[in-house]
């Protein structure tokens, strides 16, 4: 069984440690496979079979179905591998930043611009 989730005391900030790495292994392995264009196509042809092939847990399959980054992270996903999943749908890190913070992409971009002040 995966190790217990630990609180590192940094709000809103996942720490991808051994517990998360165990929990997310199947999910991250699937996302790692998306380095290959043939695998990306196979996933898009039949998403459910592809998830089953990698042995995703019900929570991971649901998070994939929902395209929900916070759920994917809660299910053990690591953002570097998840970025390859997001890329299949043409989503970049600002799109996933907006989704996670509940902002519009425009608001999220403005937040980044404001950080320059």
């Amino acid at each position: 069984m995966p190790g217990k989730a630990r609180d590192y005391g940094i709000p809103g900030t996942p720490i991808f440690d051994g517990a998360q790495a165990q929990k997310g292994y199947a999910l991250n392995k699937m996302c790692y496979s998306f380095n290959s264009a043939a695998n990306r196509e196979e996933f898009q042809r039949d998403e459910e079979s592809y998830c089953a092939k990698y042995g995703l847990s019900p929570a991971q399959r649901s998070a994939i179905r929902n395209r929900n980054v916070l759920e994917l992270i809660a299910a053990g996903g690591n953002v570097y591998y998840l970025a390859k999943f997001a890329g299949i749908f043409g989503l970049n890190v600002q799109d996933i930043g907006a989704q996670q913070t509940g902002m519009s992409v425009e608001q999220f971009r403005q937040k980044l611009l404001d950080a320059a002040r």
């Binding site: 440690d17 790495a21 970025a83 913070t101």
Partner: protein
């Protein structure tokens, strides 16, 4: 003997790959970032390196969680880039300098650092984009390379103090190499940014500027931070600052700043550029 000419550091955001491929350098969004580089090019033309030792982190191209090395050193005659999954153009292969790689490996292991050695190694955007930023001209690449990969993906990460010491060991290794090679050391990644969690989009200008100042002459001040301090202050992916610390550690002499640039934002990231000269 090999000579360490200096160090270069830059951010390595994937979007830079698109900007280069689509030649967006002079667009208003990109100009404040790219305007930093001509000074680096000028310095490189002056010092004429033969080899670049490039310290970066792999983002899931060469390494997966099945085997995740804390430190890995390339020892190949050639390194290739490949599809990373989201469509930035791949760049042509890089020529290695395997004899220098093995000398560095032998030397750092003798100093009790134990990196993974790689005779095959795909290099991702963390490696390739800085190369393209520093040598934007036509292929083939004018320098040979030694890739050094640092784990910034899966905690526990090597501590900032360990990274600075690892860099110092690499610097002693290069300086003791008997061939007359001219070497620059490159550190990539950062500065402050966070891609994941409800704090995504976190940037810390004050901390970044302090780091860019301290790393020139007082890198030990930055080595005092814990990994979690860096996560808190620079964001979850801002920990890539440790690559800069490895590169800075390799500069064995008195170090002077030739040039710097800092710009917020490119994509989700605060970007930094430093050109540091190793003044013997």
């Amino acid at each position: 003997m090999a000579k360490i000419l200096g160090g270069l550091t830059t951010s390595h955001i994937p979007l830079i790959g698109k900007a280069i491929a689509q030649d967006l350098r002079n667009e208003p969004y990109w100009q404040p970032f790219f305007k930093g580089f001509p000074a680096a090019h000028e310095w490189l033309r002056k010092v004429k390196p033969d080899v670049a030792v490039v310290v970066y982190n792999d983002h899931g191209l060469n390494f997966f969680l099945d085997k995740m090395p804390t430190f890995a050193i390339g020892a190949a005659a050639e390194y290739r880039n490949a599809d990373e999954g989201w469509g930035i153009p791949t760049l042509p292969p890089f020529r290695g300098e395997p004899d220098l790689s093995w000398h560095i490996i032998e030397s750092v292991v003798a100093e009790e650092f134990d990196p993974v050695t790689c005779q095959e190694m795909l290099v991702d955007h963390g490696f390739t984009l800085p190369m393209k930023l520093f040598w934007p001209g036509d292929e083939p690449w004018p320098v040979r390379v030694v890739p050094v990969s640092v784990n910034t993906v899966q905690h526990p990460l090597p501590t900032p103090a360990r990274c600075l010491k690892f860099g110092q060991a690499i610097g002693r290794a290069i300086a003791s190499y008997p061939e007359d090679l001219r070497v620059v050391v490159i550190g990539t990644g950062g500065l402050s940014h966070q891609l994941d969690g409800t704090r995504a989009g976190f940037i810390n200008k004050e901390f970044d500027l302090m780091c860019m100042d301290k790393i020139v002459a007082e890198p030990q001040e930055l080595a005092r931070y814990s990994t979690l301090d860096l996560v808190r202050l620079a964001g979850a992916q801002g920990v890539e600052l440790v690559n800069w610390l490895v590169a800075r550690g390799a500069l064995t002499g008195s170090v002077g700043k030739v040039h710097s640039n800092y710009h917020i934002p490119i994509s989700n990231t605060a970007t930094g550029l430093l050109v540091l000269e190793n003044r013997g």
